[in-house]
């Protein structure tokens, strides 16, 4: 039976934890609003970009473009986007598990695997693993910028063109809503003619007759400049989604923690009151016992 003082201290401790988790919940909620707004501001750009790419790529001959070249996959690179900070529930663990599963599957097919880690959490995990980490970018998730995406894009395009890797997959935490975030794969390279958000690759559909656009320069040349940019756009999209998902996951995790704290405080208060009453009863018994003894 813990003493009264022990319980009292314990209650005070849990209360402090509750205050912290409550504050973190509110901070995460505020940051989530910002991250969500950035995601939404980015959407028109991404959508327009994807639409134009689709139109151009549909007419293009995949063999003419090194970035569309389908080779036998000897080595696959996963660009894993996680958060920099923890305390957001199973969010990062889910992403890391998904990455692990994917890497094991590919390795069992005899393909080489490598990772590019964006975000501290994934990097910290895979640094200690046996997998090769070709690059990392940490401490940027709080304020994701285009130039971050551009840098990653340049590095992976370089690896792809040098034929160091033959396929590049992007793995990020897709923001579905505030309570659901899902680890999602998207293929970055080689770029396929059926572009867009779909995870399933569709067979290239026939292209209808388009409006007679004037292309300047030729469609192929435009495509050549746009393709690396498209890779950057997809990476940035993944980073923005992950940033929003992280805050949403943290909000939920901290909400749960706050609830657990109040449950604990409730139970501890009950125990405290019981112990207090037991002590009073015991004292009364002593007094009564003493009085009886004097009488006799």
């Amino acid at each position: 039976m813990p003493s009264l003082k022990d319980i009292k201290l314990k209650i005070a401790g849990v209360k402090k934890t509750e205050q912290i988790t409550k504050a973190m919940n509110m901070v995460a909620a505020a940051k989530l609003r910002g991250a969500q707004a950035r995601m939404e501001d980015f959407r028109p750009y991404a959508e327009k970009f994807a639409a134009v790419m689709k139109e151009l790529a549909g007419t293009a001959n995949p063999d003419a473009f090194p970035l569309m070249a389908k080779r036998e996959v000897k080595k696959v690179l996963v660009v894993l986007i996680t958060s920099d900070r923890g305390l957001c529930g199973a969010f990062n663990a889910n992403l890391i598990n998904a990455a692990n599963k994917f890497l094991q599957e590919r390795a069992s097919q005899g393909q080489g695997v490598a990772l590019y880690c964006v975000g501290r959490k994934g990097e910290a995990f895979f640094r200690k693993s046996d997998y090769e980490v070709v690059g990392k970018m940490i401490d940027i998730m709080a304020n994701v910028q285009m130039f971050n995406a551009r840098q990653i894009g340049q590095e992976i395009i370089h690896l792809f063109l040098e034929e160091e890797v033959d396929e590049v997959q992007l793995l990020y935490g897709r923001f579905i809503n505030v309570v659901t975030q899902r680890p999602t794969f998207e293929r970055l390279l080689p770029i396929t003619a059926s572009l867009g958000e779909e995870e399933e690759e569709e067979v290239e559909g026939e292209k209808g007759i388009k409006a007679a656009y004037i292309y300047e320069p030729e469609p192929e040349a435009i495509l050549n400049t746009l393709m690396p940019m498209y890779v950057n756009v997809q990476i940035l999209h993944g980073m923005l989604e992950t940033a929003a998902s992280e805050q949403a996951a943290r909000m939920t995790a901290m909400d749960n923690a706050t609830k657990a704290c109040s449950d604990m405080i409730h139970n501890l208060t009950l125990a405290f009151n019981k112990a207090r009453q037991a002590a009073i009863t015991k004292e009364l018994m002593d007094i009564v016992g003493g009085a009886e003894a004097l009488k006799g």
Partner: protein
């Protein structure tokens, strides 16, 4: 309405401009060109450079970096990685970026590194464009 074209400039961060204009001049891959109302459908990639548009005798100057534009249905959509109005340009930052890029180019030339050269050149172009747009038009505006 009849003689104007809808101009939209979109960057990853936000919708920068959305208004009807008389004329927009863009830094195309193969040279500067202007777009006016009822232009034929066009798709062009853009260089790092200056863009200006004119509306009721007021001209707005901007520095844009990389992207493309599409004209269809009397609507001009510009997708750029960055777009800033002349008065928004941070001259100090651009100057620093210019110095940094120049230094990096020198280093790269000495070491024969390939990846960084393209990046440094692009950075240098962006910085020079920003400075040019800011200096030329800040006084005039």
């Amino acid at each position: 309405m009849a003689n104007k074209i809808m101009l939209e400039i979109v960057t990853p961060n936000k919708l920068v401009v959305s208004e009807e204009v008389d004329l927009a001049t863009l830094p195309g891959e193969e040279g500067v060109f202007g777009v006016m109302a009822n232009h034929a459908p066009l798709l062009s990639s853009l260089k790092i450079g200056e863009l200006h548009y004119k509306n009721d005798n007021q001209t707005v100057y901007m520095a844009i970096s990389g992207g493309f534009c599409e004209v269809s249905n009397n609507r001009l959509t510009v997708l750029a990685e960055a777009a800033e109005r002349a008065e928004e340009i941070d001259v100090d930052r651009a100057l620093k970026a210019k110095e940094r890029a120049e230094r990096r180019l020198q280093q790269a030339a000495a070491q024969k590194e390939n990846i960084d050269v393209a990046r440094a050149q692009a950075a240098l172009m962006r910085a020079i464009t920003r400075l040019k747009v800011a200096q030329e038009y800040r006084g005039a505006a």
